[in-house]
Amino acid sequence: MTVQERRGSSLGQQLQPLIKREVTAIAAIDTAIAHETAPDYVVMFQDAKNGKQANIEQLATLLRMRGGAPDEGASLRKALTTSKAAVASRISTTAVLRSMRHAEIDLVTLYTDAVASAEGLVKRALTKALGRALVQAHVLTAHLAKRTASQSDARLLPLPLDDYFVGSEPRACMRCHLDRPGRTGALERNDPYPYTYVCAACHDEVLGEFSVDIAEQMERWSREMREAKVLQRALGRVSKLNAIGRALHPLSGLEPDLPTPAAERAVIVPPMTRTPGPADGERPGVLKVETTNGAESAYVDELFSVRGIWRHW
């Protein structure tokens, strides 16, 4: 066994249980998605799955970098958890959320321990994954507090429950997965459209994401058009990542986490040179195309006599 393989093996012992847990959690989420009838919760579950896939990919990369091969396959735990998820999803969405939170808290514990013993690149990777797990745990806790009016759950949140949910009913904004208060009001679309819901806070935040050239034209748009554009943007990947870093991190007791824009990382403005054209003396050539009738001939003549086609520009 090489040194690299030994390192990979040691790291594997640390990371492999995390990978297994995340894969198991995804399997349970997939089961929940299949049974969930509320579209806003389906989107919330899909995004939760997305976060877990990201964690797995980070962990798997760490193993691959050291010559190891992540084992992302089936396990008894996965089979059991999937069965439990199927049962929970038949009982209620609340049961599913409770089951998901249970799994997430386990992951938070494991990630916290792993971060404590890691360093360098591995520590950075695990810290990012821990952040996702913490956010997910807080979102789930907020939902449970809202759905069950549980004071003990509400006390687990770093901010008052009203900062997470503004309405009387628990709903999952399709951008931030909560139902936060805001100035402009929530956006909702129903049949004949796919059910779509974006909370008031996200509505405000998304309005601020449009570039200046677009924002200055918004006043001329109809209300319906403006709202459709906000929904379009809110459900995109960029806006969802903004919501996680800007809103969900503070609501999970974490610092905001937004990357440095590319333009600020740019260090050199490259000198651009014109794409070289043909050298003198290389032009022009003669091409012939066979035609079968007058219209074709006229067209080809025009196309190949350059100055003919200019008339059409």
């Binding site: 389906v42 992302e72 459209y193 796919p194 050239d213 990947r237 990382r265 100055r307």
Partner: protein, 663 residues
Amino acid sequence: MQLVVDRFNETLATDGPDGVGIYNSGQLLLEEYYTLGKIARAGLGIATIDANTRLCTATTASALMESFGADGPPGAFEDFERTECIMLIGHNAAEQSTVLWMRILAAKAGPLHPKIIVVDPRRTVTVSSGADLHLQLKPGTNVALLNGLCHLLIENGTIDRDFIAKHTVKFDQFRTIVSQYTPERVEAICGVPAAQLRTASEWIGRSATTVTTCLQGVYQSNQATAAACVVNSMHLLMGKIGRPGCAPMQFAGQPSSMNTRETGADGTYPAYRNWEDANHMRDLAKRWNVPVELLGKKPVGAPEIFELCEKGYIKVLWNICTNPAVSMMHRTTHLRTLNGVFLVVQDCFADTETAQFADVVLPSAMWGEKTGCMTNAERRCTLLAKAVDPPGEARTDLDIFIDFARRMNLRDASGEWLIPYSDPEGAFNEWRENSRGCIPDYSGMTYQKLSGGGGLQWPCNDTHPEGTVRLYTDLHFPTEWQISESYEQDLETGHEHTLNEYREKRDAKGRAVLVGTEYQPPSETTDDRFPLIAVSGRQAYHWHTRTKTGKAPQLDDAARDVFVSLNQADADSLGVVDGDRVRIVSRRGSVVAPAKVGDIVPAGVVFVPFHYGDLGEEHAANNLTPSLWDPVSQQPVQKIAAVRLELVADATTRAWWHVEASR
């Protein structure tokens, strides 16, 4: 290559899949797309992979999914020779599809004498060389015009009620919408005389057969997917699909863009699998021997990939065989972006504008230097054989992908290489098995069969060993939830139904959907500061950003530099004469170009070709275009930018066409 691998690894480890992106092409080979898509989804686990087909053919796929349940052009090129009426919408075929245009002209001289209707804001060479009727509409008003045509077809009774009843859904809703679009209202919105609209509807409706094509005048314009869907609906109204001479030909703008859509190198999953369908993902995971839990991510389109770069989420971008430094909308923003990411450029030319931002350039082989397949807009797959070795250190794109996958240590669930093959034929054989039983079924094709000449059209399988000329001849459409490629998206927001919503409320159960929608004015608006609309487009002599054609003497000679076409009336009001240098200014940037004054564009509209993009010279049309894209297809709106013209003080330089003309 090791530097590339190290940066990918480091970023994937610290940032996860959102930290890296892949932007590829419509000009690679099928085997390369399939391999790249598999690396991205099953190896790297990323959703941030897309192709420049997002700028060209994405709307084709979206519209076909919305109307028929799945991508896949229904018709064949031979339908042009078997039809009585051809309508080209936003498709300047005489400059963009020169071979096809000759075929159309030959058909026009043939026994069926098809009427040719051209819908375009410009009086192009297509109009002057072959059109019987030119509907010169205002930019961005396609949906209103098409709704008006459908209204007249219904009013005239030139629809197939039996077909509609048996093979479509939503006729009542569709009729309610289009009934509001009287010829007079359409004239008010589009500027097309009511009489011309009536003539067009008569020709289309009274013809026994009709072929309609769409290209970038639809796909890069306002309400792109909606407009393309109404074209599909128009054919469904008349039952003109699935038989000779009848097809909505939703076109592809690049040689192998069909393959990106089929194999999953763009936003979709391979073989038209639906990312939301757990059974589709299980099937794919089984064929790839990877855990299903890692699949099923919502795709992220190119406009969002570039914004993820801009905002700093994506830190490593692998750019393959495309030149976004010229072609991407709102270009000035993206130039800063490209300078701030770790940029890998894989291209056969090292002097592209994008390559000048690269941290690493991977030289690649080009057409004629490698073997592989391309599939065209009639689903015809053709095998291209390598003729010569690539020069210098250049390697085939497939070799580069396989090397990357091995160095990344990407493996399947059994610990075997994720990419087990080492040559194009091995890749093709895995792909054809991957597609077996799916809509784009290649299982009946082999390199040996494809070596026989003119290629084969999919589906090609045990049932159709010689391929299939046209789809939907049995008038059954793949809209059932079990096979549908998507669950019907909201045309205004792009949001998609969940499986349960679709199954309970939307499943058309094998019928096609008569997709109807109201016209909405463009988001980019004119005002006192920006009173004109700029449309961008191609010229006959250049391909995209001139990475190749700019080096061909005859082509460079024919169209050597940018210009702006404007109407005589606008020129007069601005005091501009032909050849004057003007600055075209939008809310985002500007272009300086000589003015070409005439009557090709209507008053209020200017045209700028998009091929030119050298930095520092303000030649790129995409300096003007907005960061707007279609909600469903995510195709950028590159045909509508509000602008003004300013006469450049030193306007004495003669325009290039004056110089050329005096030679």
